[in-house]
């Protein structure tokens, strides 16, 4: 960009650059592209750093965007050259199929299953729901999948509704509404006889979901991710992250209106689906990167994991201690807890347990229904 070029040429490159950023998940639309062009019109187009700063100011909107922007900017305006030529380069032709990143195989499989499960066919009337309720997720047959998915979503909605209703009742208090009071008093010559009240705003619980999607959780995560999807949609203030060896925030991905799109998005963003497990390191990342924003005494943190940690156990313990200190409530859902005779003896689970407010299972539909109780209660 150091040489002056035709304006039209620049325009098409900026638009292509914006599209590239969008592919990488930045919220860049036509309005931002137009702003980018206006910004470049206002700075010295011959100055590479200035253009970089101007585009970055206009096209990013959160800290996480900055690193992505830098990488894309470097790739786009300065692709690696075989010769030592750092002159201005046109953009590379867009790669076929967008990003080239293939979703991990396990996820693809259940994208398809999830799609089937989303079919328009109504639930069979003879569905033995009671039987399904007790059945461990890992033992479902392909036929049962479809109705279970629908049930999981229904339960999530109910949990969410109950939760918000309960909070409302608990927080009832009033303050005087001066504006209405004065209006009423006017009818009585300015004598204040009745006070008009207005209700205080409802203080809602915020939920943070940290879901383990490592290999050992595979049988369960396909249900739980749908549960999370439904919960996030019904409840609003839910932040969702998944982890196996590293942590990925998927709140935005999950907020897609369509479940399949959402899962597609998740697949694109999570690099290590079905990988190993480093719970401690992942929690540490969560605390450092998001703790300040998300953890308050009104936050409920929900960890969904079997506790099989192949990482540093000390790290896990420290992270759990801090999590408990900074969050209002820590709930650990362990699908294995549903298996008869299960004892939390694996090292990771043992280290985490002292810092958990509620230790519950998440292996079947009944256990998900129980969740409402856990979410609404407060730490003693």
């Amino acid at each position: 960009m150091s040489a002056p070029r035709l304006y039209g040429d620049l325009t098409s490159h900026v638009v292509a650059f914006c599209r590239r950023l969008r592919l990488h998940g930045l919220p860049v639309g036509p309005r931002e592209a137009a702003d980018a062009l206006r910004a470049l019109g206002a700075v010295d187009v011959g100055d590479r750093r200035e253009c970089y700063l101007a585009l970055r100011t206009v096209l990013t909107s959160r800290r996480d965007d900055l690193a992505v922007f830098d990488r894309v900017f470097e790739e786009f305006w300065n692709p690696p050259q075989p010769e030592g030529d750092y002159g201005p380069q046109g953009p590379r032709p867009p790669e076929a199929g967008g990003d080239g990143a293939q979703p991990p195989p396990a996820l693809v499989e259940w994208l398809d299953e999830a799609l089937q499960a989303q079919g328009d066919e109504p639930l069979p009337a003879y569905s033995p729901i009671e039987v399904l309720s007790q059945k461990d997720f890992s033992t479902f047959t392909a036929e049962e999948l479809r109705e279970v998915t629908a049930l999981v979503i229904a339960i999530a909605r109910r949990v969410a509704t109950r939760l918000s209703r309960r909070t409302r009742a608990a927080q009832r208090s009033a303050r005087v509404d001066l504006r209405r009071t004065i209006r009423h008093s006017l009818r009585r010559g300015g004598e204040i006889i009745e006070l008009a009240y207005r209700r205080r705003k409802i203080q809602r619980v915020r939920v943070v979901l940290l879901a383990d999607v490592s290999g050992s959780m595979d049988l369960y995560s396909r249900f739980l991710i749908q549960f999370i999807y439904a919960l996030q949609h019904a409840l609003g203030r839910v932040e969702t992250m998944v982890f196996s060896t590293s942590l990925t925030r998927i709140t935005e991905a999950m907020s897609e209106d369509d479940l399949r799109q959402a899962l597609d998005e998740v697949a694109r963003r999570v690099p290590d689906w079905s990988g190993g497990t480093k719970i401690g390191a992942s929690l540490r990342t969560f605390l450092d990167r998001y703790g300040a924003q998300l953890l308050t005494p009104r936050t409920v943190v929900l960890v969904i994991s079997d506790g099989w940690d192949t990482g540093d156990i000390d790290l896990l313990e420290q992270a759990m201690a801090e999590l408990r200190r900074r969050a209002g409530r820590v709930i650990w859902l362990n699908p294995l807890l549903g298996s008869p005779g299960y004892e939390p003896i694996c090292q990771g689970m043992r280290a985490a347990l002292p810092y958990v407010d509620v230790f519950a299972s998440a292996h079947n539909l009944d256990s998900l229904r129980q969740l409402e109780k856990h979410l609404a209660a407060r730490r003693r």
Binding site: A39, D47, E50, L53, V58, I182, S185, L186, E252
Partner: protein, 317 residues
């Protein structure tokens, strides 16, 4: 660099604000494109200061709206002056003026209290509107703000619609205690301010604490770099650096040693746990780093500081 950006940078410098090109470019674009500028960063890196300096540089007024949980339209936009309304009603108690007329009278502009947003909209010349710590306000209010920022007009049921005479320059700051909504973010230009690098912090200390000697200033700026590499609940920002520098001078210290730091820890660390952790675990380590740096050739650089920090043994636990 574009001459206008250079001018803004010089202007910010002239107002006592040490500005790098990134910041100057963002401020320049906010003025040029007339878009709100969202500034994020840790506490104490000088986010609020940007708006103040911008107002002075543009030679216009600063209107500040401090956000907090529960902030609503009444306290941010307008409110009726109830005391005055009551008095007025009393004074006219026995007059023959019909009720409707009296009512219209007390809900007219003289009885209106303009809160920051309305004040910014109706201001005579485009002011700088600082919406400080907007992460602390509720999401409902954020939606309301978004509406104001898009239309630049507000409707007061009793009076009608008021359109902005001049669109204000808007600066929003956030400490990221809550993630702001995407809609609001997309409406804004974005600037992230990180903790300053060694050179910048040294320049700030020298600018703001002119009485300081060179050695102490360098040691303080370096010490801060090392402190920020440790894990603390509340990492001290520039405000703390400046307070600390002033405290050290007031106590007649001309260089950093264990006594000097131990005496003044409370100025630097606002949380008891942090102060305690530094006193018991980190102090030797931090001062050791400063001593190691003292053996390096001057002027010190960020590279030298990072190298020293990398070489140092980890602190006792």
């Amino acid at each position: 660099m574009h001459p206008e950006i250079t001018r803004i940078q010089a202007m910010l410098e002239g107002q006592g604000y040490v500005a790098d090109q990134t910041l100057a470019t963002s401020v320049y674009l906010a003025i040029q494109l007339r878009k709100p500028l969202l500034i994020e960063g840790a506490a104490g890196v000088g986010k609020t200061e940007v708006a103040k300096v911008m107002a002075r540089a543009l030679d216009t007024d600063l209107i500040r709206l401090q956000c907090y949980e529960g902030l609503d339209a009444t306290t941010s936009l307008y409110e009726w002056n109830y005391q005055r309304q009551l008095l007025h009603i009393r004074l006219q108690e026995h007059s023959d003026i019909p009720l409707e007329v009296r009512e219209r009278e007390i809900f007219s502009e003289p009885f209106l209290l303009k809160r920051p947003l309305l004040a910014a909209i109706t201001h005579g010349r485009a002011p700088v509107l600082l919406i400080d710590e907007c992460d602390r306000a509720d999401e409902e209010w954020e939606a309301f703000l978004l509406e104001v920022l898009s239309d630049w007009q507000v409707t007061i049921p009793e009076i009608g619609t008021i359109k902005a005479r001049h669109v204000p320059y808007v600066v929003l700051t956030s400490n990221r205690t809550r993630e702001l909504g995407d809609a609001l973010r997309r409406r804004c230009l974005y600037l992230w301010i990180d903790y300053p690098m060694f050179d910048k912090e040294l320049a700030i200390v020298r600018r703001k604490v002119p009485a300081i000697n060179d050695r102490l200033a360098e040691q303080i700026a370096a010490f801060m770099q090392f402190v920020r590499k440790t894990k603390l609940d509340k990492t001290p920002g520039i405000a703390e650096t400046l307070d600390w520098s002033a405290a050290l001078i007031a106590l007649h210290h001309d260089h950093l040693d264990e006594d000097a730091v131990a005496q003044t820890l409370g100025v630097l660390f606002k949380q008891r746990d942090d102060a305690e952790r530094v006193r018991t675990q980190w102090l030797d380590h931090l001062l050791g780093n400063v001593a190691a740096l003292d053996r390096e050739p001057r002027p010190w650089t960020q590279d030298a500081i990072d190298r020293v920090a990398g070489q140092a043994s980890s602190p006792r636990r």
